[in-house]
Symmetry: C2
Subunit: 208 residues, 2 copies
């Protein structure tokens, strides 16, 4: 059993490696990875040795090789599908987002309850489907994650629909708390803490 | 100088307290706060004593009181404005988002380059403005944060516009890296790590 804080750190290392590869980096040190993730270099080295992640001391890490190793630990080496419930502004922005591929994630369905939206083609080559048509066949097998992008007062109802068709993992973008059945895991997506961190640096003198 | 990892933890404690207050919690222990933020209880107690945050051992913390104390440390006790550049799907979802108030944040302007969008009224009572009209008067004083919700190939250009009018703090929602002038601070908003964490729990047996 891997504690969630460790998984979040691994996911951050993975994201930092994806970004560095895109910039053409050849070698990365553990302190560079630490800086990108806002974590101490000691913690990074501890995590790498815990999972047996490669790298020669003093030489640094090969971003592509390290990314592959972390992908195996996080199970990103297998494709996962994202099912979006709520095809409004945020839902459609997520459906069209081009950054999921690097994580072996793919949006496979977008659902809504508004008859005026159902049947509409949106970015990412998808068509909005009726949330009533969500069935256990929508995302067979265990590799499916739900994304809740409905209004807050509809969040629990939309989540219950996902649980009822066997989708047990949900990223909740709404501000409403979700009651989940045993065995399910719901995480909240929040960018407000990032704005809070930026609020702290309100004088030029504070900038790093 | 407070290290960014510490600020991120404080911002998470703040978010957890906001959520718990909304659920009517009266008392919170440091281990409950730790669990909500995916951090060890020892780290929470260390942070609280470093900043002199109140609470009686064994009795727990009053969420409202603790939130007020953290707000002062993070400077959330003063209002900050958010200026959004890119009034597409994500930009409009941000403009309409109701969760900023709890952080003393408010979206004060939404800008775009598309003539078909300029002048349109959107959620949150705002009207889309021409990005060419961004001036140092748009957000006078030091309390302004930019949000980049343009396509990736426009990110640097939009960021440069914000830097040129004196907005030095940016939350970048695009996947493109931003070159920033000295003194500026750019953070990336990413939900993909959250999906990666959920990908890990791909068998029911893993669920917590
Ligand atoms: N985490 C953040 O920082 C953040 C930022 C922006 C928006 N949000 C949240 O994301 C959510 C969506 O925001 P938005 O701007 O896209 O809203 P929106 O109104 O544009 O979209 C909501 C969509 O959900 C659909 N819907 C309503 N009830 C439904 C149901 N039971 N089943 C399926 N679909 C249903 C509506 O028809 C609509 O298309 C809101 O809860 C908002 O608070 C969060
Ligand atoms: N972080 C994430 O996980 C995540 C999720 C979804 C989308 N995104 C990113 O957010 C961004 C916006 O996505 P979207 O779906 O809202 O796209 P969109 O195409 O709906 O909106 C982009 C808007 O930017 C405007 N624009 C283009 N160039 C501009 C300029 N120079 N100045 C001002 N405005 C300009 C366009 O007119 C358009 O209105 C993209 O970069 C996308 O990759 C990130």
């Amino acid at each position: 059993r891997v504690p969630i804080p460790t998984l979040l750190r691994l996911a951050c290392y993975y994201r930092a490696l994806v970004e560095q590869e895109q910039r053409g980096a050849r070698r990365l040190s553990s302190s560079e990875i630490a800086q990108l993730c806002g974590i101490s270099a000691t913690q990074v080295r501890k995590d790498f040795s815990f999972f047996g992640l490669g790298g020669k001391p003093g030489v640094g890490y090969d971003p592509a090789q390290l990314r592959g190793q972390i992908a195996r630990v996080l199970k990103l080496d297998r494709p996962h599908q994202i099912v979006i419930v709520g095809a409004g502004r945020l839902g459609q922005a997520l459906a069209a987002y081009g950054g999921f591929g690097a994580y072996n994630l793919q949006v496979s369905g977008v659902f809504d309850s508004d008859p005026a939206k159902i049947g509409k083609r949106i970015g990412g080559g998808l068509t909005i489907q009726d949330v009533k048509k969500l069935t256990p066949k929508t995302c067979p097998g265990k590799r499916c994650i739900g994304a809740l992008t409905v209004p807050a007062d509809q969040a629990q109802r939309a989540a219950d629909t996902l649980f009822s068709v066997g989708i047990y993992r949900i990223l909740n973008f709404t501000p409403a708390p979700i009651e989940a059945p045993a065995g399910a895991i719901v995480r909240t997506a929040a960018f407000t803490p990032e704005f809070a961190v930026l609020a702290f640096f309100d004088k030029e003198t504070h900038y790093e």
